[in-house]
Symmetry: C2
Subunit: 161 residues, 2 copies
């Protein structure tokens, strides 16, 4: 894959650092039993997650609101470079099958895990959209705060590993 | 990637065999200067093709009608296993960016090249769709005849290699 340069008109980027090692941050991001502990900002929860960690494999999660309404989503893993990069998209389902979301917008997530400081991680989450309208919708849904909050939750989960 | 089993309700499959070696069929499928010679069923033509042959790379082609109207399309390479399997999709553009086709339908193409007989190739082209309506549209656009015709053109091109 070409090195990816975000387009500020179309993409959203979150950068965080932590003293947790890249291997542990990767593990928390790619292990269903760990993802269910941090993926949704509390008091939302993640009752289920299924991942086949290879190109074409599923990346499926269900989020549940505090009122108990469930929001399942299906996606497809595009790149799984152990410990360094995870890419998945909602534009495709498992097996690279196109899926059309009539109400929302598709996006691709590029998550990178780089060594930082003394054994820590520079974490970069980029959401890639088809157009500026989708970027704006995602921003207004609270991308920055939401993805930052769940990163804090993820770091908390790694403390138990 | 999981071995892929087509869904007959959603997918279209073309299987052909040829005495041309898999390496040459692969080369004709992945080299822009060769693709422009066979990709569109004559009297249509393919004035341009650009490929970055890695996951996330572009797969862009332009087809031209006999009347001279041009139809550019952009896509994204998902899998490039040299000599054996090529996967690309129109649901994503270069860099895995989602792209929405308001008028048509997205599809993913899985092209496999298997050894067959005495040095030949079993060629399988599968078009994967989001739903039965997209499959039907693609079928009615002449998938079976079109993809078979251009495979004949491809084999003709390999004779010059």
């Amino acid at each position: 894959m070409t090195d990816f340069t975000p387009n500020p008109d179309l993409d959203l980027v979150l950068v965080r650092t932590t003293d947790v090692a890249p291997e542990l941050v990767w593990r928390a991001w790619t292990t269903p039993e760990l993802i269910v502990q941090w993926f949704a900002p509390k008091p939302w929860s993640t009752p289920s997650c299924e991942i086949d960690l290879w190109p074409g494999g599923k990346f499926n999660t269900t989020m549940r609101s505090p009122e108990g309404q469930e929001f399942p989503s299906t996606g497809c893993i595009l790149v799984a470079e152990e410990g360094s990069r995870l890419v998945f998209t909602s534009a495709l389902g498992p097996g690279f099958r196109p899926q059309v979301d009539e109400e929302g917008f598709p996006f691709t997530a590029v998550i990178t895990f780089e060594p930082h400081g003394n054994g820590g991680t520079k974490y970069t989450a980029t959401a890639i959209h088809a157009d500026a309208a989708a970027r704006k919708s995602h921003e207004e849904m609270g991308f920055a705060e939401g993805w930052s909050t769940v990163f804090d939750q993820l770091v908390e989960v790694t403390k138990s590993l």
